[in-house]
């Protein structure tokens, strides 16, 4: 399991979320205090403006309050669960907002995936650093596809449309990249 912080921090966030499942409002406040910056970051990357990001963040935490009992500490960390939940709420809101013009994804030669520099890498948490390192081993375009899928909620057909690649070609590329990522992260 990928760590999201030192073991003692992870364990106590897991425990706090489990307390939220019992209706503990102070634990809920603690979860908010410790995770709201990151979850707001998720919303800001997914939604086009700040107001919507703020709304999505509120909806996410209300979902956290209602569904905390669904968190299974044996399966993953609280932070991963929170990020997944928040991403889902934000993508729902993005889709509900009606037509949003999705930018094309450039041809291979033009693609530049933002790789973090040495200093940025040093400041990252261990799991982020590992992933960034492994993403760096992919072709830039494939890394862009994966980020776009995650932050734009763009599934295979949308990625194919935006990149101009045939669907089958695109799927094949991305699956190869995912297997490469798996091998790197293992």
């Amino acid at each position: 399991m990928i760590a999201a912080g030192p073991p003692e921090t992870r364990a106590s966030l897991n425990a706090a979320l489990q307390q939220v499942a019992q209706g503990d409002r102070l634990a809920f406040e603690e979860v908010y205090r410790r995770t709201s910056a990151k979850l707001f970051g998720v919303c800001l990357r997914i939604l086009p403006d700040r107001t919507q990001a703020e709304e999505a963040l509120q909806e996410a935490y209300l979902s956290v309050w209602q569904r905390a009992a669904q968190f299974d500490a044996a399966r993953g960390t609280a932070m991963t669960w929170l990020i997944s939940l928040t991403r889902n709420r934000a993508i729902d809101r993005l889709r509900a907002g009606g037509r949003h013009v999705a930018a094309p994804i450039e041809a291979a030669s033009d693609v530049h995936d933002d790789k973090p520099d040495g200093l940025a890498m040093a400041e990252m948490a261990e799991d982020e650093r590992r992933l960034a390192g492994c993403m760096g081993g992919l072709e830039a375009r494939d890394a862009v596809f994966l980020r776009t899928a995650f932050f734009d909620g763009a599934s295979y057909p949308e990625l194919a449309e935006r990149s101009g690649l045939p669907l089958a070609t695109l799927k094949s590329r991305i699956r190869r990249a995912l297997l490469k990522l798996r091998d790197c992260l293992a």
Binding site: A4, S36, G41, E54, S155, L178
Partner: protein, 227 residues
């Protein structure tokens, strides 16, 4: 795990599949534990794409708090940390043995301190074998201590109510049935706790009653007395 399943888990986690295909993968995760583990692993990988983020404005927390289902009668304004677990000495002595059940090994054991004897107590019980909840209340400090024994509300919350002479239940909040706790209580509910008054525990949806009144069965009750 074979490549096909690994890829499906990754595709689900990254949001690469949608519609019926996604629903089918989610349904599979519900019933196939190794697959669910793979999905969780890939969700953790994908989550590592998210950087440090940015702190939201303070008013966002206030808005969230305001939208939580109300199980307090008075709004909380301070976020003082009163996370101490205290068991009233008079509550324990000669009344019952409280078993603090550690359900989650990752949680550090509660620090048990003996607090000064509180003036009001109640033993809440119901059908035999259903467990008991011992409650003590210090009206001066507005400190409510509860300890549940052999009482498990399952996938629900247990909510504590005070029912004074006017027969209208007022919530004292959701109680933690896994470990003894002390809380501060405020507002009408706390003010109503007095000798002779009934306290009761009802089974509610997780997080407590959404309506401000009991919506589930009352399973335990008792009368407040001076200790």
């Amino acid at each position: 795990m074979n490549d096909e399943d690994e890829l499906l888990a990754a595709e689900l986690a990254f949001g690469l599949i949608a519609g019926e295909e996604r629903r089918a993968a989610e349904a599979r995760a519900d019933i196939d534990p190794p697959f669910a583990d793979a999905v969780a692993r890939w969700q953790a990988h994908a989550a590592a794409l998210v950087g440090a983020g940015e702190a939201p404005r303070p008013s966002i927390w206030a808005a969230i708090e305001a939208r939580l289902p109300a199980n307090d009668t008075a709004p909380r304004r301070d976020s003082g940390r009163w996370r101490t677990v205290a068991i009233a000495a008079s509550l324990l002595a000669g009344v019952m043995t409280v078993v603090a059940v550690e359900r989650r090994p990752a949680t550090p054991p509660p620090a048990v301190r003996l607090a000064p004897a509180p003036p009001l107590v109640a033993m809440l019980s119901g059908a035999p074998g259903k467990g008991v909840v011992a409650v003590s209340f210090d009206p001066r400090a507005r400190r409510l201590t509860f300890a549940a024994t052999a009482f498990d509300p399952g996938r629900h919350s247990a909510e504590l109510w005070v029912i004074p002479a006017d027969k209208k239940p007022r919530s004292l909040g959701v109680i933690d049935t896994t470990a003894p706790r002390t809380e501060l209580s405020r507002g009408d509910a706390a003010a109503a706790v007095a000798p002779g008054v009934t306290l009761a525990v009802s089974i509610e949806p997780i997080g407590g009653s959404p309506t401000g009144l009991p919506t589930g069965p009352v399973v335990l009750s008792g009368t407040v007395q001076k200790s």
